[in-house]
């Protein structure tokens, strides 16, 4: 039964002002006392596959693998030089993998051509010039199509230029002119993508991860790839864990946010060991629209128990502002930003407003969801750090924060934390020694009289 129907919602009070007793999407109110292991049903899939079972043969294989690296057996030395760029025999490929442990590069056709041309002392053949008939005919066809698109681009930019020079009165008012210009620019951008999307070199570069993110085609391909899998997973986690609407009213992720602690990558919703999360995370934020942005990064714990009220509240763990990102500048190394902040004298030039507080959970309490939001600052204007520093940590209201500083959420990620072996140490170092011994326990519920076990029943 939905606890809040639209009819009884207080319409004269702002929705955001009403601190919700229940979430908007109809899930009942969460009580601290009621939350328990049942919530564990909602598990994220483990991202790292479990280690394969140790078989008896594996150590032996490992030894033989390592041995040739040090001293190659005599029969293997007879195989001679094997170039991964040029092996074109199945046997040689096998030997290359066995002896050198490297995979051959590219297709066997390509390697064969390279091998033959080098044997004939010919010059090296570029990928585009491989002399295969079907390949070359297809390239000719695609080049023709590309030329067509380039001509279209030229015409379209000329049209846009002409329209921009036109008097707004002729083109039906400034508003109509603006609309028309926008749709013409959209079409131009589409043509720019279409001109390159069939190029085999572009495809190869993108798949090899060598794409230049300053070019629209690589940004487009990366966006498509992100939307096909990673964004879907993130959306699922955000809705399953009720990040929306618990922390924000809505979010439409447009930037790919990768979260990691140290060397370990964290998939959205993973449990993170408290010792690991004692250090600041590292973020990689890939945006797909051109231009530099200033962003604010906020980390919020959405599950801080309040035993007095039998409820939960939020706690802000981290705020950093005025961080510049762009499609080619994706990394947000928070640890290095922290170092830089300590060195700067000027308090206004600092970036970290609220320093990192290690996530912690009481023993026996349900897991804590820690959400990380990347919020775009309006018009790339810097925020006043001194003012942001005043944000309170406990009972943090992210919706109010976003409204106050006119931020726009562009990306999010989340992880979870719970009581583990290293938690006492982490809490002690964070100055929470008095909290270490606090343990949440289940309240014993007295059975109803007719369920009570009596002497007679024994």
């Amino acid at each position: 039964m939905a606890s809040v129907k639209p009819s009884i919602r207080q319409l004269n009070a702002c929705l955001k002002c009403v601190r919700q007793t229940s979430s908007l999407n109809g899930t009942p109110r969460r009580f601290l006392s009621a939350s328990a292991a049942a919530r564990e049903e909602l598990q994220t899939q483990p991202t790292t596959a479990p280690p394969p079972p140790q078989s008896a043969t594996k150590p032996a294989a490992a030894i033989t693998d390592e041995k040739p690296a040090k001293e190659t057996p005599e029969y293997m030395q007879k195989w001679g030089e094997l170039d991964p760029e040029k092996v074109d025999w199945k046997r040689d490929e096998r030997r290359l993998v066995r002896r050198d442990g490297t995979q051959p590069v590219g297709s066997r056709r390509r390697r064969a051509i390279l091998h033959r041309s080098s044997a004939n002392k010919a010059e090296e053949i570029a990928f585009e010039e491989l002399p295969y008939q079907c390949f070359q005919e297809a390239r000719k066809f695609l080049m023709g199509d590309r030329q067509e698109k380039l001509n279209d681009i030229q015409t379209q930019s000329l049209r846009i230029k002409n329209l921009m020079d036109q008097d707004p009165a002729v083109s039906g008012g400034p508003k109509a002119k603006e609309t028309r210009l926008r749709s013409m620019r959209d079409y131009l951008n589409e043509l720019v993508i279409l001109a390159d999307i069939n190029d085999p070199i572009v495809k190869k570069k993108f798949e090899d991860g060598q794409g230049d993110m300053n070019k629209p085609i690589y940004r487009y391909l990366a966006d498509q790839k992100w939307r096909k899998y990673k964004r879907l997973v993130l959306e699922q986690r955000i809705s399953q864990f009720n990040i929306v609407p618990d922390l924000l009213a809505s979010i439409d992720p447009v930037a790919d946010v990768d979260l990691g602690f140290g060397r370990k990558d964290i998939a959205p919703g993973d449990y993170v060991d408290s010792a690991t999360s004692e250090q600041m995370p590292r973020l990689t934020v890939q945006t797909f629209v051109p231009g530099e942005k200033l962003v604010t990064v906020v980390v919020v714990d959405a599950d801080v128990p309040v035993p007095e009220k039998d409820s939960f509240t939020n706690r802000c763990h981290f705020i950093a502002s005025n961080i510049a990102i762009s499609p080619s500048q994706t990394s947000i190394p928070l640890i290095r930003i922290g170092h830089d902040d300590r060195k700067t004298e000027d308090p206004a030039a600092r970036k970290i407003a609220l320093p990192w507080e290690a996530p912690w959970a009481h023993k026996g309490a349900p897991y804590h969801r820690l959400a990380i939001f990347v919020l775009e600052q309006k018009d790339a204007k810097a925020l006043n750090i001194a003012e942001v520093e005043k944000t309170k940590r406990l009972n943090h209201n992210l919706k109010g924060f976003v409204d106050k500083y006119k931020l726009k959420p562009i990306g999010a990620s989340l992880f979870r934390t719970r009581w583990d072996e290293s938690m006492p140490g982490v809490m002690e170092r964070a100055g929470l020694k008095d909290q270490v011994d606090v343990e949440f326990k289940r309240k014993k519920i007295e059975p109803l009289p007719h369920k009570r076990r009596t002497e007679r029943m024994r």
Partner: protein, 345 residues
Amino acid sequence: MNVGQQTTRRLASRAGRSICRSCKDTLSRNYASAAAAVQPEDQSSQHIPPVAQASPQASYSVNAGVVVSRPPQITRDLHPLESAFFLYQRRLNERTALPFTRYFYYKARTPADLEWKRKMRQRLTPARDIGRYKGYGDEAWNDELLVGAEESEMQHQVERLIADAEQTGLEDSAEAALNEAKGGAGKKVEHELIERPMSRITEADEKNDVKSLSRLLQRTLYLLVKNKEGQWVFPHDNLGKETLHAAAGRIINDAGGVNMNTWVVGNVPIGHYQHDYLQSIKTASGLNELGLKTFFMKARIMAGQANLNDNKFGLTDFKWLAKEEIQKEVRKKYWLQVKNMLAER
């Protein structure tokens, strides 16, 4: 009569002008008796007096035209990418499909089997027209043709098929050479003659005979005639008291003679041409003519040839032309109006 119908009738008769015309029509159709009661009042209220025509009406004279076409006779030439890709696919198939089941088709140690074995030894693959290529073994992956190879061309493939049918595989063997040396003492085996396919380029193509119907076999040809004014147009004439379809049939006969087996496709025109006069003309019937409109009907020629000897429109010449050739002959204004009804190929 049940209650529902009575109610409807009452409503209809009482409503008067408050029910719209179409609703009333619907009611009267369903309930004829109710309509009968209402009808007189209806007529008087809806009567529109005829308006006397003050000035002569402006109009266009209507012509019927006919686009006689000869459809393509052969398939089109393949794009170089298409032919290269088809051969690539055929070689790929040769390499991935199950091996040819020889003994299903040839009994062992028969002459046919021996011939098959000889030919297989020469071309290495069961397919007769994909060149010398081996689909199995270590080198099988290397099945792609290099640039400039002629195996993908259709003419080459046709020749290979003919050669395979004509030859026995013995031609350049040592045995044949020995026979030759003996002075042809061995029995000469007479083979059935293999019929060659007709050329895709005809004599009319070489001479560029625009009056011939055997030109440009891959394209649609359209009949274009030269009228009294010396302009090239599609045959057309004033539309009398007849349908467009009948007029099209008449025009074909009147213009190109009876020696054409044609078929007028459909009753609907495929396009129209509008010509505005500089000054409007008063016709005998008191109409003010602004110009003329020609509606074109589609027709196909199955056999025969056009003959302008005793045509009734004063035509002096005719041509069978493909689409882009028409553009060169007709006026630009005419072309812009007719180009979209002509097939691309």
